[in-house]
Every structure is written in structure tokens, then in C-alpha cells.
């Protein structure tokens, strides 16, 4: 019921036939995308897939070669200022004013939105508390750690109380504890009713944070859905990993009766099956190496990504 209602409501973002060319290079190659109100949507893809270009077209600083984008039901080509007044964007680069303190940075940014002084005072206090910046409120930004700087960059994009929050690789380069903290802030924002659109190339991030994900490669949206559904529809639920050569692989899997999806990256072999126990038994029975190290785990979004794109995200770096 809950989902059905979301689908019925007017989408926050509606993209039809989006296409963008830079000279001879096609960056976005015919994307249709709808983001319903109140969800967290993740755009996944390797670097250069067209994620950032798509985001830039959504907030109106890159202009589509063809296609149409509506945000809040308004055409971005005609309503850039009013749409941007209602959304917030965290860029990949923090672009903070380094000699100034977090509080001063927030004040400068609030003025870009033409907020009045009383409102700015209130909002600055709220955001400093929300992102737990109070201990560093008066420290120049250049003296803050990467995690604090990233939190401030996110705080800047929230200053106008946006209905849509766009986060371009929000946690790239951050340590695990900071990532966890940021995820909880993003969830809190969504729970308060904001719509979140983020890009990432961390599949665990997408799986934990996003209600819906879309996978982009070479400018095309090749798969879309809730992370669990996407995994279930694409691959079997279990995954085992082991190191072996292609010759060994043929021998180990010989005579196997079950359906197995295979993916190889160098020596690493990944097998996706419905029931890993039977497969592990089979491999062990055929292996001459008693020490053969086999990892069994649930199938993740990363496996889906690799299966669909045939590329490793890390190779894309």
C-alpha cells in the first residue's frame, strides 16, 4: 500500500529520453528515470558512466542535447532558479571557503539562497547540531579533518531546507566510522520527508541506504529496482568465492548438475547459486587441495553490478 501511494504521488524527478553529447562523446545515451517523492534513489555506475552529467542536468548547469527533465513538476530548462531554490546539492569536491569557520561558511551559503538574517541564525544552529559540528564551530575549515569537511559540505546543501537532496558520491574517501555516521544522517533526512538522489560506486552504501537503485554504464540505465529485488531478479541468493586457474575451474565444476552463474576476475572466481552448501561439497570432493580457501556469503548488489556490467568497479577507478 505504502509503495502504491508513493507511485501515485507526483514524482520529484521525471526524466524522459535524456541524451547528452560533448563533441563526439556521448555522455548520456537515452535515459528515462522517475524518482518518487520521499525515497532515497541511488545511481550506481563506474566513473565516466554519466552519473555526474545526469545530476548536473537535473539541477540545470548542463543542458541536455535532447530530452526533458522535470523537477517538482517544473521544466528545468525554464525554471532553473526556482527549482534550485528548493533543492540542495553536495558536489564531489567540497568547495568550502577554507579560511572561514563552518558557521561562516553556512552563513555565506545561506545568503546565496537570499535567506534573511533571523532565518540564517536559526538554520545555522540547527545544522551545526544536526551534523554534530558544534565542537568545531569556530575552527577554520582548513584545520578540519576530511570527515568534518565532508559533513560541512553536506550541511551547506541543506541550508535552504531542500525538498530534494542531491549527493554526488557523498562518502568517497571517508573512513568507515564517518561513512556510517553520514548514512544515518541521510536516513534521518529521508525519514523527515526529503527525497534523496545520490550517486555512489560503493555497492554496500547503495544497498544499505537506497530504497531504489539504477545502474548506469556508458550513459545508459541498464537495470533498476529495489536493491533486494534487483539481486533476486538477477542472480541466485548465495555466492561463493575462491582462487583458481581456468583449468582448475573446469575440473572443479565438472559433472555439476545445478545451475551456476560464473564470474572471473583474474584468479578470483565467483559463483552464484541457490544453495551454496551442495556446491561447496562438490568442489571440495573434486579438489586436490585440502587447504582450498572458499568464502560463502549472500549475493550482494556488487555481484549484480559485476554480472550486469561485466566490469569491476575497482577496475573503473
Amino acid at each position: 500500500m505504502h509503495l502504491a501511494n508513493d507511485q501515485l504521488a507526483e514524482p520529484v524527478i521525471a526524466i524522459r529520453g535524456l541524451y547528452k553529447r560533448f563533441g563526439d562523446r556521448v555522455a548520456v545515451d537515452g535515459i528515462d528515470l522517475t524518482v518518487p517523492k520521499g525515497i532515497c534513489y541511488g545511481l550506481l555506475g563506474p566513473n565516466g558512466a554519466g552519473k555526474t552529467t545526469t545530476l548536473r542536468m537535473i539541477y540545470g548547469v548542463t543542458f541536455p542535447t535532447s530530452g526533458r527533465i522535470e523537477v517538482f513538476g517544473l521544466d528545468i530548462a525554464q525554471h532553473r532558479r526556482s527549482i534550485r531554490n528548493r533543492l540542495g546539492v553536495t558536489l564531489q569536491d567540497n568547495s568550502l571557503i577554507e579560511p572561514l569557520t563552518p558557521e561562516e561558511n553556512l552563513r555565506v551559503f545561506a545568503r546565496y539562497h537570499l535567506m534573511d538574517e533571523a532565518d540564517i541564525n536559526q538554520r545555522v544552529d540547527e545544522l551545526i547540531e544536526f551534523l554534530e559540528l558544534s565542537s568545531h564551530r569556530d575552527v577554520p575549515v582548513r584545520d578540519l579533518s576530511g570527515g568534518f569537511q565532508r559533513r560541512l559540505a553536506i550541511a551547506l546543501s541543506l541550508v535552504n531546507r531542500p525538498e530534494l537532496i542531491v549527493l554526488d558520491e557523498p562518502t568517497t574517501g571517508l573512513d568507515p566510522a564517518v561513512r556510517l555516521a553520514l548514512w544515518s544522517r541521510v536516513r534521518a533526512l529521508r525519514n523527515e520527508g526529503a527525497t534523496v538522489l545520490l550517486t555512489t560506486h560503493y555497492m554496500d552504501e547503495a544497498e544499505r541506504l537506497c530504497d531504489r537503485v539504477g545502474i548506469i554504464t556508458d550513459g545508459k540505465l541498464i537495470a533498476e529496482g529495489a536493491p533486494r529485488t534487483l539481486i533476486a531478479e538477477t542472480l541466485a541468493q548465495d555466492t561463493i568465492e575462491l582462487d583458481c586457474s581456468p583449468q582448475e575451474e573446469a575440473r572443479l565444476l565438472d559433472g555439476l548438475s545445478m545451475r551456476v552463474h560464473r564470474l572471473r576476475a583474474g584468479e578470483r572466481l565467483m559463483l552464484h547459486v541457490d544453495h551454496s552448501v551442495a556446491l561447496i561439497d562438490h568442489i571440495r570432493s573434486r579438489s586436490t587441495d585440502d587447504e582450498l580457501h572458499i568464502i560463502a556469503r549472500p549475493t550482494t548488489l556488487e555481484d549484480v553490478f559485476l554480472a550486469l556490467t561485466g566490469t569491476s568497479l575497482e577496475l573503473g577507478e
Binding site: 560533448f22 548536473r56 539541477y59 548547469v61 548542463t62 543542458f63 532553473r80 532558479r81 526556482s82 534550485r84 531554490n85 540542495g88 546539492v89 558536489l91 569536491d93 568547495s95 571557503i97 577554507e98 579560511p99 572561514l100 561562516e104 552563513r107 555565506v108 551559503f109 545568503r111 546565496y112 539562497h113 537570499l114 551547506l156 546543501s157 535552504n160 542531491v166
Partner: protein
């Protein structure tokens, strides 16, 4: 989309809040520089010069140097500082995630460069007044001239900055463009006494010549209306042309 004055002002405010952190340290050299110039060149070199352009050398120098300081104030702002904000700090990319448009960025930066030119030139002017070299009240007309100087060099620098792709070019801008202007624009010696008529026509191309001539007229209280009109037309006309070029450039740099 055209300029939204309130958004342009927000861009101005960003630079002002940076400056407000360091203004005391920034302002101090502004007062020392004119003192050095006026004493070393005006009084030191001037001791060997009976008079120039019909006045003591230090008095001849003063109006030109006031314009030069406004030129420098604007130029530093729209070259190195703008380039850093454009490419390294990515401040403009952040601004464009808000309702600010490229035209507002341009307007705000020009306004800010004009502000810096007025602060630089204004403090120089105060020292010149303190030295008793600026007859009041008519030399107060040099203040609007300072602002025009700021506008002109903000426009020139901005058109240059948004069209270069490496910071190394700025040293050319300063050594091959601003330095010769500084030396050959009627600041240190009267051009019309040194040049043949044809070269005098060529010299009319020099951007700094026009503000210097206006400032000289303000200081002396004698102005020829056609010449003042021509100088004003040159400044406003060239600024408008270069702002149009800068506008195209900044749109190309910030949007795609």
C-alpha cells in the same frame, strides 16, 4: 537569464566575508606603498627634476599613481583570485547549485573587484591628500575616476581570466601587459611632450592612459570637455565590450 542584483550581491558578500577576516593586514600595505612611491620617486628622483607638466614632480606623479593603485587592486582580484575560485576552490560550481546563475557570478565579482579598487585607490588618495598634493575640493572628483579605473581593469582581467586554462599565463598578464601600462601611460612623464603626433594616436589605445588623464584633470581642476568625453567613452565602451566577452566565457566555463 539576466543578472539578479540580490544574487550578485550574495556573491559579493562571499568575498567580503573572506576579506573581513584579514582586512587589517590587507589594508596596511595599501598605505605604505604610496608613501614609498611618493618619497622615493616623487621626492627622491623629483629632487633632480625642476618641474614636470608645469608642476613639482611629486605633484605630477600623484594622480597617475592613484589610478595605478586602483588598477592593481582590481587586477589582483579578477586574475589570481578569480582563477583560484574558478578552478581550485570550485566556488562557482557550488554557487551554481543554488539559484545563482553565471551572470550573477560575473556581476558579483566585478562589483567586488570595483570595491577592492576603491579601497586600494582610496587609501592611496588619502595619503596623497595628507601629503598636500591633492587640492580640495575639486580633486575629490578623482574618487569616481578610481571606480571607473576599477571597472575597466576588472573587465579586462575578467575577460582574460575566464579564457585562460593555466595559472601561468597570469605572470604574462602582469609583466607584459600591466607593467608597460604602468610605465607608459602618462604616469611618470607627459606622453604628449615625448611622442610625435602619430604615436600619440597610437598611445590612445592604452587603457590606463584614460583614467590617468581624468584623474589629472580632477587634480588640476582644468578639463577639456571633448577630451573628458572621449576618455569616459573609451572606459565605458571597452568595459562593456570586455564584459560581454567575459560573460560568454564564464557561461562556457560553468555550464555545458
Amino acid at each position: 537569464m539576466s543578472v539578479s542584483p540580490r544574487h550578485a550581491l550574495a556573491v559579493w558578500c562571499r568575498n567580503a566575508s573572506m576579506y573581513s577576516r584579514t582586512w587589517k593586514w590587507n589594508l596596511l600595505p595599501n598605505f605604505f606603498e604610496p608613501v614609498f612611491y611618493l618619497t622615493a620617486v616623487g621626492i627622491g628622483v623629483g629632487a633632480y627634476i625642476q618641474e614636470m607638466g608645469g608642476m613639482p614632480y611629486v605633484a605630477f606623479l600623484a594622480p597617475g599613481l592613484v589610478c595605478v593603485s586602483a588598477m592593481n587592486g582590481a587586477s589582483f582580484e579578477v586574475t589570481y583570485n578569480v582563477y583560484v575560485r574558478l578552478t581550485f576552490e570550485k566556488s562557482y560550481d557550488a554557487m551554481l547549485t543554488t539559484p545563482i546563475e553565471p551572470d550573477d557570478v560575473l556581476a558579483g565579482e566585478i562589483l567586488w573587484a570595483l570595491t577592492r579598487a576603491s579601497i586600494y585607490g582610496g587609501s592611496f588618495f588619502l595619503i596623497v591628500v595628507a601629503f598636500g598634493l591633492a587640492p580640495l575640493p575639486h580633486s575629490l572628483l578623482a574618487i569616481p575616476v578610481l571606480m571607473l579605473t576599477g571597472l575597466l581593469f576588472a573587465s579586462i582581467g575578467m575577460a582574460f581570466s575566464v579564457n585562460v586554462y593555466t595559472i601561468d599565463y597570469f605572470s604574462f598578464y602582469f609583466t607584459l601587459f600591466l607593467t608597460p601600462l604602468f610605465l607608459f601611460s602618462d604616469v611618470f612623464f607627459p606622453l604628449d611632450e615625448r611622442l610625435t603626433p602619430i604615436w600619440q594616436w597610437v598611445a590612445e589605445c592604452l587603457p590606463l592612459l584614460h583614467p590617468v588623464r581624468l584623474a589629472r584633470a580632477a587634480f588640476s581642476g582644468n578639463a577639456s570637455l571633448p577630451l573628458v568625453t572621449w576618455d569616459l567613452t573609451y572606459i565605458v565602451g571597452l568595459s562593456t565590450l570586455l564584459l560581454a566577452i567575459a560573460r560568454r566565457g564564464i557561461r562556457r566555463r560553468l555550464t555545458s
